[in-house]
Every structure is written in structure tokens, then in C-alpha cells.
Amino acid sequence: MGNSHMQKQLLEGIQRGDAVLEARGITKRFPGVVANEGIDFDIRAGEIHAVLGENGAGKTTLMNILFGLLQPDEGEIRMGGQRVEFKSPLDAIDLGIGMVHQHRKLVSAHSVIENIILGHPRARGILNLKQIEEELEELCARYGFNIDLHAKVWQLSEGEKQVVEILKALYRGAKLLILDEPSSALTPVETKKLLASITAMATDELAIVPFITHKLPIVLAISDRVTVLRGGKVTARFNTSHVTEKSLARRMVGRDVIFRTERADVEQGAPILEVEDLSAISDKGVLALKGVSFAIREGEIFGIAGISGNGQRELAEAIAGLRTAAGGRVILGGTEITRASVLERWNLGMGCIPCERLDMGIIGDFSLVDNVAMNYYFDEDFCERGVLDYAKLRALTERIISQFDIAAPSPDTKAKTLSGGNLQKLILARVLSRRPRLLVASLPTQGLDIGATEFVRNKLMEAKKDKAGILLISEDLDEVLSLSDRVAPIYEGEFMSILPGEKANREVVGAMMAGLRPEDGHNEDR
């Protein structure tokens, strides 16, 4: 883009309160769907303008259009009052738009500073690292970012990686910052810090657009205005001071939403899962799970709270039979299964919702029937002399689709055409349809919108009432706290404590997730 320097002036000298970007009548169609329909949207300097919507509401499409990854079929974008066209993200970046991706796009073996200058126009030829470093430190000081510029990215926490992406965008001269799900995967403490920095940035002339799926309190806490999308259209525009969580959710989902799934009181039965001193080694070859012991009773939800990468994955996989235990024992309903195969475990009544939904739980090119068959192909009721009973499988799939209200045109639809929420419902449904005695649920609502989240949580409660024992692993602290009968905060592969649900609150558990040991005599309950 040869005239980028001229165009960049569009946003030079912009004042607080001036319109930075206006989108008018943005429409984008994909085969079979209208992803965005006549969307009007504007953002002023010094403003935080949240865009809220469920999965499939058209948020991602709008975001990609604003960042130049997609071109609208109709409508126009104006910056500083002039019409602009983005042929690629480079155009958008040149004009002062910065994007902070939910799935970080950083080189993990490189240092923070190297990542920040990667792709920067000044990073050609000879680098003046010292000057760059000074400028970056000034940026950090201004917005309250606290980060070691020479640390390697792989050493950073999720929150710190996000800071790197923000710094990268700012250093590139962004006047408008798009944040994709800024607070997902952050700890409560990190979230607090991030929000403070965002607010600090907005008091300068920066314009900030967070795109948010389900963290409504964050919208209320920081944004000045909010635009709500549903079904590709704008359903509401609010000044944030005029709304409540409930009214936002109603506009977003189209109906009233219950925010707290009530913890059902179920009489607990015999222990269904016993774990003794279990340890496991991660893919990187380090001891990631360091000897945990616990038991889950029938009708009990046992929640693991922790920031991702503290051994939860290894714990779930060791119990599910997807990872060999390095030590310890796992006992399911009285039978030792430490070395049992996946199918032996399933036949003993274990069900498993994998954490990597799209990679492990679903085969995109398979039909829904074939996806349901993942939990049934080995079942003699569905297979006679090696030949699968597709009539039965199809009937089962149809039942699952209607009972779980899965939006799919037919059981023969390919799974990859369904949304993430519907796929998670499908996995949950086929696992629960076997009426497991023990359910290992890893990140059951991650990335789901409010409606689907509520649905999944209610189904977990139903399974609990049905006397299943549930191991719930989630990075959403509120979810663990509201659903679990007992909570174990995990840090670096060890349980910091095991707390009964009524004694587990955000502060206590949050501190333990960050590695603080409980003081002596504090709620020890094994």
C-alpha cells in the first residue's frame, strides 16, 4: 500500500470524543447464511465500546471485517470521516487498527521484545534495540503494564501474553484496539490488572473495542457503550450505565437467562472413583501431576479449579485412560483401572468429555451419526458380528438431536457445519446417553455462549441427580464454585486443599489457584 502514510494521517491529531471509526450498513453473506446484516457501529476516541453476542451472532465476522481479514458485501467503513477499504489486515494496521487475538499469535521461542517488533516497519535492516526498549518501557509505564521485555514468550502466563499482544499493537501505532475475548483464560488477579490497563488506555485518546461472548460483568465494569448482536443484526445499543446483567443477557439470547445454576442437593452414595497418589507426566516430559488423592461419591460434583497448565489436563487424561499414570492408583467402582484401556473404563461406566472438543471429541468430516457412534461402536447392542447397526445408531442420533435441542438439519449432516455450542451438546448428549456412573468433564462450557452454557450446566446437574459422580475441570472459577459440592484448587500439579462447596469462595480459592497454601488448620477436608 503505497499511500499508507498519507492515509495514516486520517487519525493523526484526533481528539477525545471524535469518531475514530464508523461502520455503516455492513452486510456479509456466506453460502447459506447472512453473517452480518446491515450493521451500524461507531467508536470514538477515548471510549470503550463493547460488542456483545453469543457464538454465531456474527461477532467474529464483524471483527474480521474491521481488521481487514474479510471484505463486506455491502456497506462501508469510515475512519476519521473518510471512506476506507481494507484489502488485508496490513491495510487496517497501517491505518491504526490493532488486534489482540484470543488465540495468541506469538512466537513462543522468541523474547517479548522480538515478538513486538516482528513485522514492524522499523524492524528492517539494522535494529536499534536500545531505543525500541526505551520506547516500550515508556508505553508500559504509561498504562501500568508490568512485563520483562527480555523474557521468552513461552515462559509467560496467558495474561502476560495478552499484554505482549497489546503492546505490539500499540507500538505499531494503533489508535483503535480490538480485543477478542480479553478476559478468557485469565485468573481473577490478571483480569483485574488488565481492566485497569484498559481503562488507563481509554483515558488517553485510544479507542477500545472488546468483543465478548459471556463475561457480562466485565462489560458492565469497563465499557462506556455496548452494542449487542444477535443473529447477525444489532439488537440493542446501550450506554452501559443504563443496563444490568439481566437486560443485556435478554437482548443477547432473546429470552431470560438464569445466571446461577442451583446446586442440587442429592443424597450421596458410595464412592465411585478413588484416586490415590496419582501422578502423570506431561507432553513436555515434566512431572505435571504430582500425587493427588481424592474420592468422588455417587451424586457428587467434585470441582478442580485452576489456571490452565497446572496439571488438570494430565489428571483428566490419566483418569480417562488417555495418558499413562506415572504413579498411584485409580479405582472405579471398586475395580482398579490404573492401567486399563479406554474401552475397559467406558464399559465399567466411565464417560468422558474431552477438553479439546474439536480435536478429540468430534470428527468434523463425519456425519452426526458417525460422531455419536464414537461412544457406541464397541457396544454389542449396536453391532452384530462386526457390522454396525446403522438404523439403531441413526434413531439414537435423532433422539439426541431432539432431546438436546441441537440445531442440525439432519443426522447425516457433517459435524463441521455445526457451531461449537451444538457440538458440545452433541458430545455431552452421547456421553450422558450411556448413563455413566462417573463423568469426567473437562472444560465443559469453554467458549460456549450464555444459552449453551446454561444448558450444559443444567445437564450436568441432571446427571448428578441421576447418581453420577462428576469430576468437573474448569478454568471458569465461577462455574466450579457454583456447581461443585467440593472444590480442589490445583496449582503446579498439586491440590492446595479440598474445600467443601459452601466454604469455597472466590477469594480463598483464587488465592490458592495462584499458589498460596492454606494456613494451618484451614478447611482441610480430605
Binding site: P31, M360, D365, F366, D370, Y377, G386
Partner: protein, 373 residues
């Protein structure tokens, strides 16, 4: 793109029906033949005449048709041998070696029963032929098992392993049939001893009975993938090893199984060509040529998208064109390698046209305003 008042646009296909796939393939064949006409024109031959010669010899002549069919059987076995690991997400590049092993297995049976150097055999035909077929399948399967085990246990790249095993098998055959080898022809012509007539496979009008075997395998494989538990496990592993692991489908078992099955079927190709095609009945000096031909199994497998039934017409076409092309090359005194060039052009076109499996061109009247790109 604009043409007159119409606008051409490329769209992603969401689904592809069997009819659409067939139409696209036929279009590709027509396109390839049209493209190759240039060669004929440059040689001063009418393409129509040339193609009529090729097709009538390959598919309608009493001399050409049996040759075509025997080659078709060979290619179909090779294609099936490729497809099984392919559906599990693994690449079998080793049909060549596996079919050589199959041939060695079949001739090994005869050697064991003392057929070398004698024109008669103690065993009845009804016993010796099943034994030879079984031995061919076992030998091919054993070679496949090496690749499958290495892949499953140590995640060794199966493409490299099967490829290298091809060389081992090639030289092993050479060792066995050349001067001093145990399979050496008593006449010492650099080929193996000949089959005793009692071990000749039954044939109908010059076409070996193995055609039923090859078609049967294709149908069985189709059923395997469409209906059975094992087929489901193979497909799941091919689509997503991680999902397969989640569902208790083990990589070691699937890798080993598909390569044993694939190798066994490739072994049958070896039996077919060296022990069942009328007029051959020995591991001939030019056995390497058939090893090379086996690579067309990969191409047919890819063109038919791993569908064992769709592989039948593809293998038939390749078999026919290789026979017809060779005839025209001699008859019309074209340059050497014309037949291979024809197959090559066809192959590339078919693969290129797979673009339309995933995309379609949409015509629309250009009427919208403000849609300048």
C-alpha cells in the same frame, strides 16, 4: 470475473454428491484427451483417429481387451492396497515391494513342492492355487507389517519405510531369480523358473479368474468402510488420530492392521501378474516394469477419493489407456514414451480437477452496484 453481462464467481462447495463427482471426473478425462490431442496434431495424426484406435483396441478388440483386463486386475489390486491405509490416514507407497514379495511367496510354494525344473507337480490344481494365493497374501502382508509396526510403535514415517522396502524387495527378487538364485530358470535367462501347467490359474478368454478376486476385494472393502466396526475404526483413525485415541481406537493396532491388509492385497497383485496372467507364468526379466506400474494404484486411489468402488472404473481406464497407448505408439510410429505421457496428462488433469470437488463456479447476472473489486 465478468463476461458480458454475467459475473463468474468461485464458491466453496458444502457437499459433493456421487453424481457430481462422476461428472467432474468425466469432464476431466475429456479435457485431458483434448489437451493430449496437441501431441497427435504435432505428429501429423488426426487425434480422432488416434483415440479411436486406442479405445477400440483397448476395449473392443479380442486381442486388446484381455490385455486391458489383466492390467486392470493388477491396477485394481494395487489401488485397493493403497486405499486401506489411506483411509486410516496412512500412505502406502510400497505396493511395489509388497507385490514382489507376493510373487516370491507364490513361487516359494511351488519350490517347496519341488516344481522347479519339472513340468509336473504332485499336488492337485485345486490345492496348489489356493496355497499360492495364500502364500502371496501372507508374504505381501508381512512386508506391509514392517511398515505398520514401525509406524504404530515408533511413529516412523510410513512413506519412507514403504518406499525403502521397495528397493529391498526389488533386489531380493533379483537375487532369487538371477543366476545362482533359488528361483533361477534352468535356462538361465535372468528370470524365474516357469510354472508347471497344473499350477496355471483358470482363465476365461484370456482373462484370469483373479478378476473376480479383485472385484470381490473392492466390494468387500466398500462394505468394510460403509458398514463394519473395523471400517469405522479405520476411518476414525484416518480422520483424527486424537479422536480415535479418545474413543479407544489404538494407533498401533490400526497401523499394523491396515498395512498387513494392504500388503496382502498387493501380494495378490504379484500373484496375479506373475502366476495367473495367461502367457506369463514366471517372474519375468522386466518385473521392474510392473513394480513401476503399481504406482498407478496411488493415483487411482487418490482420484477415487479412497472409495473402493469408484476405483474400479478409474483402474479400468488406466489399464486400457496404457495398453491402447502402447499400440498406437507402435502402429503410428510415435516417439517412445507416448503411452506414459498420455497417462501422465490424464493423471495430472484428474488431480487438478479435484479442485472442483471443493469449489464450484457460479454464474450470476451482474446487476449489483457498488461491488467493484
Amino acid at each position: 470475473m465478468r463476461i458480458g453481462r454475467y459475473r463468474l464467481r468461485l464458491e466453496k462447495r458444502l457437499t459433493l454428491t456421487g453424481v457430481e463427482a462422476t461428472l467432474i471426473s468425466i469432464l476431466a478425462i475429456v479435457f485431458a484427451l483434448a489437451l493430449f490431442s496437441l501431441i497427435f496434431v504435432l505428429a501429423g495424426i488426426s487425434p480422432l483417429v488416434a483415440y479411436r484406435e486406442i479405445f477400440s483396441y483397448a476395449f473392443a478388440s479380442p486381442y486388446g481387451l484381455p490385455l486391458t483386463l489383466n492390467r486392470f486386475i493388477f491396477l485394481l489390486f494395487c489401488t485397493s492396497a493403497f486405499i486401506i491405509p489411506f483411509r486410516a490416514g496412512l500412505w502406502n507407497i510400497g505396493m511395489t515391494g509388497q507385490l514382489f514379495f507376493g510373487a516370491l511367496g507364490a513361487f516359494g510354494v511351488l519350490l517347496a513342492f519341488g516344481a522347479k525344473g519339472s513340468r509336473s507337480l504332485d499336488l492337485p490344481t485345486g490345492l496348489v492355487i489356493p496355497l499360492m494365493i495364500g502364500a502371496a497374501a501372507v508374504a505381501g502382508g508381512m512386508l506391509g507389517a514392517i511398515a505398520g509396526l514401525l509406524k504404530g510403535r515408533m511413529n516412523t514415517n510410513e512413506i519412507v519405510v514403504t518406499m525403502l522396502l521397495n528397493f529391498i524387495a526389488y533386489w531380493l527378487v533379483a537375487h532369487m531369480i538371477k543366476e545362482g538364485g533359488p528361483f533361477m530358470n534352468p535356462g538361465g535367462r535372468g528370470e524365474s523358473f516357469e510354472l508347471p501347467p497344473s499350477a496355471y490359474a483358470p482363465s476365461i478368454m484370456g482373462v484370469s479368474f483373479t478378476i473376480f478376486l479383485a472385484l470381490g476385494v473392492a466390494v468387500l472393502l466398500y462394505f468394510l468402510f460403509a458398514r463394519t466396526r473395523l471400517g469405522y475404526q479405520i476411518k476414525a483413525h484416518g480422520q483424527s488420530p486424537a479422536a480415535a485415541q479418545y474413543a479407544g481406537i489404538g494407533t498401533v493396532r490400526i497401523s499394523l492392521l491396515v498395512f498387513v491388509l494392504g500388503g496382502a492385497i498387493a501380494g495378490l497383485a504379484g500373484y496375479h501378474y506373475f502366476a495367473a496372467v495367461p502367457g506369463v507364468y514366471k517372474i519375468s526379466r522386466n518385473y521392474g516394469y510392473f513394480g513401476d506400474l503399481a504406482f498407478y494404484g496411488i493415483i487411482s486411489g487418490l482420484i477415487s477419493l479412497g472409495n473402493p468402488l469408484a476405483a474400479i472404473p478409474v483402474a479400468l481406464l488406466f489399464g486400457g489407456l496404457s495398453i491402447g497407448g502402447r499400440l498406437v505408439q507402435g502402429k503410428m510410429q510415435l516417439g517412445f514414451g507416448m503411452d506414459y505421457a498420455l497417462l501422465g496428462v490424464l493423471m495430472i488433469t484428474l488431480v487438478a480437477f479435484q479442485f472442483f470437488y471443493r469449489h464450484r463456479i457460479v454464474w450470476a447476472k451482474a446487476r449489483e452496484r457498488g461491488r467493484k473489486r
